[in-house]
């Protein structure tokens, strides 16, 4: 008896085959992997640590892309006003931007999921009250919520993460609750309850896995959104402090040089930000198509 090709494939393989039907999305996925690897391996790839004052020279400041430094290294993307290699600064900035985006995204997912599941599971008045709070948060743009938080809390990386989490969690709570309420009524849940399984097992073993598909899509998009949001806040000078130079701060530093024609200082960090955010969005967009059973033909 021969196995059909479908049976021989592992779930991951099958998923990838479907995902990569869109060539653009497959390409975006590889770009994203490359970006994450670059961010991880950052210190080993760059020609200098741009924030080690011993390694940079003011004599190299504001050099256009492709120039050579005093000791012979090439600045492929030029240098900034302090003489930092811009490419190295971008790699270091990418680390911070990705870290803030992923950490705040993950925390928002955990917080939102917990509250959403609890709300759906509790039902009744508790559910109603929690959803009122969620509506209140969703009624305001996340940028404004983050701005309010930072206005109250002050500056710092931890505060930026907190602001991002507070401005995003409601999204997840709403989505998870919506899915959970539908799932709660299904027969497998009844079966699980009929078996008198412990509550934690019902929630974590049965309810949560079925909420995953929409959650994965939205949390992927959320990381992209968090990165953009953090960059915007840092650009405005209310986000990360100067000691943690994310891509947004790099762009902000180069801002004043645009008018004098030294465009590279903010163009290239911006391109790095754009590629990162665009590849995450493309991956999320494709994931939604793959997960959405309505579109599966």
């Amino acid at each position: 008896m021969t196995n059909s090709p479908l049976e021989r494939q592992s779930p991951v393989r099958r998923f990838w085959n479907e995902y990569s039907e869109s060539k653009v999305a497959a390409f975006a996925f590889f770009v994203l992997c490359a970006i994450v690897l670059t961010a991880f391996a950052g210190p080993f790839l760059t020609i200098q640590n741009p924030y080690d004052l011993a390694q940079i020279s003011i004599l190299d400041s504001s050099m256009p892309p492709g120039s050579e430094s005093m000791d012979g290294a090439t600045f492929f993307l030029g240098t900034d006003d302090q003489g930092r290699d811009l490419l190295s600064a971008i790699v270091y900035g990418l680390r911070i931007s990705l870290l803030v985006g992923v950490v705040s995204g993950a925390l928002a997912v955990v917080m939102g999921t917990a509250i959403g599941i609890f709300s759906a599971y509790a039902g009744g008045r508790i559910d109603n009250a929690i959803m009122r709070v969620v509506d209140l948060f969703l009624g305001f743009p996340s940028f404004l919520i983050a701005l309010i938080c930072l206005a109250v809390l002050g500056r710092g990386a931890d505060k930026v993460v907190l602001a991002l989490v507070l401005s995003q969690w409601a999204n997840f709570a709403r989505i998870v609750r919506g899915v959970a309420i539908v799932e709660r009524e299904k027969e497998y849940m009844e079966a699980a309850k009929g078996l008198a399984l412990p509550k934690t097992r019902i929630v974590f073993g049965h309810l949560l896995p079925n909420c995953m598909p929409p959650l994965i899509v939205v949390s992927t998009m959320n990381v992209a959104f968090s990165i953009t949001l953090e960059a915007s806040l840092s650009f405005l000078g209310v986000g990360l402090p100067i000691t943690e130079p994310s891509l947004g701060l790099l762009i902000s530093n180069g801002y004043e040089y645009i008018l004098t024609g030294k465009h590279w200082m903010s163009v290239y960090p911006g391109v790095a930000l754009l590629i990162t955010v665009a590849s995450i969005n493309l991956v999320a967009d494709r994931l939604r198509d793959v997960f959405n059973p309505r579109l599966n033909k």
């Binding site: 404004l144 206005a151 915007s232 911006g270």
Partner: protein, 323 residues
Amino acid sequence: MTIFLVRRLMHSIVVLLVMSFVVFAGVFAIGNPVDSLINPESTQEEKERAIEQLGLDRPLLEQYFVFLKNVARGELGTSFVHNRPAIKLILERLPATLELTVAALLFAIVLGVPLGLVAGLNPDTLIGRGILSSSILFFSLPTFWVGLMLIMVFSVDMNWLPTTGRGETVDLWGFKASFLTLDGLRHLALPAVNLGLYPLALMIRLTASGTQETLPQEYIKFARAKGLSPTRIIFLHLLKNIMIPIVTVVGLQFSVLLAFAVVTESIFAWPGMGRLIIDSINLLDRPVIVAYLLVTVIVFLLVNFLVDIVYSTLDPRVRLSGL
């Protein structure tokens, strides 16, 4: 209809009260209100007098009611930096921000709906796919960076458009308006495009998906079978039905843009309230922050209320289910 509107209005008032408490708790209770409300350069004696005058020694709930009473009278304190009533500072700059926001939204609608229609009607052509792919790109573009690029290309390289300020303004019912003069329009162009890119992408995707969902509907087939002209079908039957989600999103986007105007205003030195709030946050000018938040919340609620009215006019089912 009236009952529906009254209910919505009540809802708005509740939200406003809740928000006022959040703002109050955030700005006055967290952190030291003495530091945030009293000029740090004043002497110890002056500070004590101010604490008593402001009622900071009284219980929190009592303080909140005093705060509410002051808000109702329009007294939100005096800016430390500008030494003028905070609410006046904000209201002076509100028209500039509204002008920018409306201009950006108009740009998005006027360009986005036709483009979305083209993409939705021809989803498998090169043009349709191109429009949809570029809308994903617009989603990913960070607003502030696009602003810098616009300045770089159109102001520095080509020298076509100015980069800062509102340009020449005209008095319009006591407010300054840029869009009535040629110079003002030239100043408005780049900021409006910058702020409008995100809602443009949203409009394109919304119209395109709405068109694709509406086209297979029975009433469109019926209209076609009746021999109506394609233009009539598109404008009368199709557009009318996809208007409902579009109106909702326009309303929601108005609030989002009002918040994001902070970014655009900072880049283009547009003298709106967004620029003021960033300066105030950096200088810890709390009365101005409070004034900004309350004014923004009120504008949000007003816009949402207007959207509800338009929405229930377009779709009578909303009125009924809203009860």
